[in-house]
């Protein structure tokens, strides 16, 4: 699987962004890096969709943003979770786990029968 890169599944981008921000406030670039790192470079964020997602989440009140100066003295917009955002992460993660478990069960069952 190494070297093969995958676009983030539709509908999961928001969850991943929120999850990344759960750790600490970050700027957009940081979120990209963090997700790539965690996914062992499998998941690549389309930048054209990251920023709209950030704005959407902010509008939904799940994250907030502020301009800060980075360690290299550059101005950057940092995003952090709101209280509602933190609640939302756990919800989304729980839902995702339920779903992926279900999908896995289905896949396994199918494979099992196919292999028989």
């Amino acid at each position: 699987m190494t070297g093969e890169k995958t676009e983030v599944l539709q509908g999961t981008l928001d969850m991943l962004v929120l999850r990344a921000l759960q750790l600490q406030p970050m700027h957009g670039w940081g979120i990209t890096e963090r997700i790539e790192l965690w996914s062992e470079n499998v998941l690549q964020l389309g930048q054209g969709s990251l920023y709209p997602a950030l704005y959407r989440l902010e509008r939904q009140g799940l994250i907030r943003s502020e301009w800060r100066v980075t360690e290299n003295q550059r101005r950057a917009r940092y995003y952090s979770l709101t209280r509602q955002g933190r609640r939302q992460v756990s919800l989304e993660v729980a839902r995702w786990e339920r779903m992926s478990r279900a999908i896995n069960l289905v896949l396994e069952a199918t494979l099992g029968r196919g292999g028989a």
Binding site: H27, G28, W29, T32, G46, Q47, G48, S49, Y51, P52, Y55, R56, R59, Q60, G61, W67, R74, R75, A76, R77
Partner: protein, 886 residues
Amino acid sequence: MGRLMEGWRRLRSIGRRGAVERGLGDEIDFHIDRQIEKNLRAGMGPEEARRQALIRFGNVELARERIRDEFRFASIEDVARDFRLGVRALARAPGFTIVATLTLALGIGATTAVFSVVNGVLLRPLPYPEQERLIELVHEAPGLGIDELLASPAMYFGYRDHSRTFEAVGLWDWDSSPVTVTGSGVPESVTSVEVTHEVLAMLGANPIVGRGFGEADDLPESVPTVMISYAYWQRHFGGADALGRTLVVEGVARQVIGVLPRWFRFFDYPADIFYPLRPIRSEAVFPSGDGRGIARLKPGVTLRDANVDAARVVPLVNEEYGRPGMLEQTRFGPKLRWLKDAVVGDVGDTLWLVMGTIGLLLLIACANVANLVLVRTQTRRPELAIRTALGAGWATIARVVFAECAILGVLGGAAGLAFAWASLPLLVSLGAADLPQIMTVTVDPTVLLVTAGTSVFATLVFGLIPLFHVASPGTPLAGERRGGGRWSTEGHEVVRVRHVLLASQVALTLVLLVGTGLMIRSFVTLRRVDPGFREPGVIQTFQLTIPTGLVPDATQTIRVQREIVDRLAALPGVESAGFSSSNDGLPLDGDGKSTAIFIEGRPATDGTPAIREIQFVSPEFFETLGTPLIAGRAFGWNDVDRRGVVVVSENMARAEWGTASAAIGKRIATASSGPWLEVVGVVKDVHHDGLNQPAPEITILPARADYTASFVIRSERAGTSSFLEELRNAVWSVNANLNPATIRTLGDLVDRSMARTSMTLKLLAITGSIALLLGLVGVYGLVGYVISQRHREIGVRLALGARPGEVRRMFVRRALVPVGFGVALGLAAAAGLTRIMESQLFGVSPLDPLTHLAVLLVLVFAAWLASDLSARRASALDPAQVLRGD
């Protein structure tokens, strides 16, 4: 809830929009720079690093655009876009747009026009500086049975000397108007007011040329002076220097001392000359009612304070000008009122009633437009469904629908304003005879504000009804995509909403029609009232004042007046002529005299005799009016000379002596000391105070010495210009300095007396007809719509052998169900609402069954006709074509 929060966040984000745009570029730059750094670290050359970073990021502009998309709601350019789309959509449906705009224009325009009258007459303050401190001096004397007694010289002096709450007091009178102005060519009849020196200053009428009246002008020995209106200055002096010029007013040479400003109007009276009233202290009597008083309150004084203060002054006035015991006997007391209320009178009831009916009309118009918008939205379902399919949410669809409504609201408001502006002259002419301050009615900023408010209100009403329906969850739009609506009955929901709208429309229309019907009944009843005179249209009347210098003394006036009557009676086509002494002796002229009448052999109970109207008339006066003699005889000229006789009205004869004939030979007096006057005749009752008022009990004496008289002439030629010409010549042939004034027929007076009823009737009739028309359009539209929704069903029915008539009747029956509900609702509402107009009615109960029945039949028949016509048109289908059309 979630939707609400979402809306709020979006709204909040609008404000931050600019900052976000600015930040966006920086943020993207920052991101790309980081990527470049990373690429450099990975060993790429600078060029390559940059190129790869940009590739990696993707289309920067696209990203920006998508971010901006997140802000798409209620932002300025979106609203502008919605409007552009709305305008285009409306332009594609000119029929809908025109009908909706016209309906709205009618509703908003009528509201605006009537409100501008309400505003001008009732709401706007009088056009005098600090008018909120001006009051009219009115009194009451319950001991004399008088509930409203005007001011008098005694009260004027009393308040001037003793009041603590008045800043200024003034007295005025127009009894002698119009006056004859001579000295420059043809004698001229000029409207006039006599004022004490305070009056004009109190009204803020500071002269534009010359000076105003001062205290000296009111002194009997000073040089007689006069002030003239701007209009008279232009007309008489051509705007040239008029100061110091002389006007001979009623034979008195008066010096012009000032010209009043152009804006100034003396209430509703277009008076041209003003001269000092000069009340004489030594002649002042208490109690009396002679002239009208106004006062300016000191700052901060309430009407209540003023009344308390005035009540303190009254005994002082009695001490100086009255007799002991007078106060107890008359129970004289102040009843001061704001000048504004005095001017407006009781017209408020009528105007608010009309305003209310116009409000109902507006609602009907809104219901109609809501209906139209619903239909339009239904016919646009395929388009809206595609929008939904393409991802448009609740808000987007709502915006599309509402943007159109808003445009219609703006169009309707603008057209309504134009409509109001155009119809205002008509409205003013309708109200001219009756409404105070009507000449001041214009479309002013307040009116514009109300028009704008009305438009917004109307838009909300007709916009939100379809909006909530269309955009509510479970909207039929979802179904549209699935089934294509082929055999769908998805119109049901809409039809229900439309039924409710139609029923309320019918109910409102019914209320308006019942109101109109009641006014028509009142008008007819009023017309049928026997006024006590015949054929008022052929009775010419005019007033004539003999200048004081023309006859040696007042006793000679009757000789001149008799001579004039003789000349008038000799004119070709004149049946008879007569006169009544003074300028208030005509029926329905809104004026009259009253006095205490003592009956011989009948000591007055509780010491005060009954107050009755009194009139002084020449021979032939009642013959000319066509008032029949019930008993006895009328006056002859020898009665005028010898006096000693009196004629009474029939109702007075009955009240005092039981029957008309029993009155003959009885004796009465106008003073406790006599002389006794013998009743020689009884005439039929005449409605002096208005056709809707009972005829007063009246005592009639022979004509008396008076410089002014009101002449009456019965002739088929009354009112024609040739006749008036001959009439003037006849008067001039007696004396060239005489000039007839206030020339009108008795018919004019009758019309004026009915002015309030006829104005209310006309306005309600206009409103009612428009309402009926709109209501019928509503019924017509509903039936047409229902049928259009069910073309296929009808096609099948027809194909299966149903006769067109049956199908048609089915739809008519269904349409009449909401009409029936509306009628029931309307009857209930009318029962409550018509009570408000009770004071406008005459001789008919607000619950008059005949009116209700007639209106009900008219409405139901009209609704049936409209639905039948619509059904005929819409159901004229060829079944084969309809079914093939699928």
